[in-house]
Point group: C2
Chain length 155, copies 2
DNA sequence: GGAAGTTTACTCGGATAGGTCATGTCCGAGTTGCATTGG
DNA sequence: CCAATGCAACTCGGACATGACCTATCCGAGTAAACTTCC
């Protein structure tokens, strides 16, 4: 199991945008700010737009900004925008295959194993949902957002 | 993020072995029981042996059995035997890269984002650790283990 | 000076390629129980 | 009848092929602001 590296990009880009309220920041700016491949980062930002986390505007002075207030964007929103919302464990019902296959009458309820994996995934999601972007930047010393604002605003 | 399909094999094979206490079951038997590729399944069972979940014996009438009582094998043990114990989110410290790189003095503590992802992973692990193989087979109607015993014991 | 047309800067989407890892197969080495053989 | 030897079944480990997905790059289409031009 592995989360895409681009998830880290998405999380940091979103928190960076949260530190520049009102402003609109382009892909190239964000790519330079974190030293990331511009074209591929663009794809990930598009995923965030598609998920309703960011909103993108075209044209000159265009770019991205948060689509919602920071307190209404959870870390889970970002994670599932990039990686998808599916359960990493996929039950293929092998209990119904092979020599030991159970009859369908015994399989009306969900397999105990799948239920266990589902519960764990829900615990993971709940933990991520309890953290918002506002929480993420709330702990930072005031000097950081100030510096980010200076570096990302185009005057 | 995706867990290997072979994890389902490992979970079902372990619970199957738990239903046949004392007996030793070969890879070929398990593969036939669930209709799985024998050679590749062998690799996964080897991982479970390496993790101390199963113990394998060579020679005729050899095969696998549980290395510990069912109540002392957690689902987490099996999952991490197959998939590894690492956090799926890997922090690469991009906050220290690019134009917006933070000075090392600001990065002595772990990044808030990484901490959040760590906590979620721990919640996931805790959930899986709270479930043992004994719990998994405890809920089954008595007819199932009986059937499994009949199918997997070689008389 | 103002309106229309042109240029520029940027996002969006698709096409494509390489790398990594899970999946799957095959084969040889080593080990152990069983059968056979010889005393 | 017993011990020693050979055979068979099985696990273990490595080598190798395939496919899916993440990473990465490039290019064209579309859009909106800014700039230029012309009346």
């Amino acid at each position: 199991m592995k989360l895409p590296e681009s998830l880290e990009w998405a999380l940091h880009c979103t928190t960076a945008l949260a530190q520049v309220p009102g402003e609109t920041v382009s892909t190239a700016q964000l790519a330079e700010h974190f030293d990331l491949p511009t074209a591929y980062l663009s794809k990930q930002l598009a995923l965030l737009v598609r998920a309703g986390v960011l909103s993108g505007t075209t044209g000159p002075r265009g770019g991205f900004r948060l689509a919602r207030p920071t307190s209404e964007i959870t870390v889970l929103d970002i994670v599932e925008a990039i990686d998808g919302a599916g359960n990493p464990y996929l039950c293929r019902e092998i209990r119904q295959q092979g020599r030991g296959a159970l009859p369908a009458s015994q399989c009306r309820e969900r397999c105990t194993i799948a239920t266990t994996m589902d519960r764990a995934h829900q615990a993971w999601r709940d933990s991520l949902r309890s953290m918002t972007v506002a929480d993420l930047i709330g702990d930072l010393p005031a000097s950081i957002p100030e510096r980010t604002r200076r570096l990302l605003s185009r005057g």
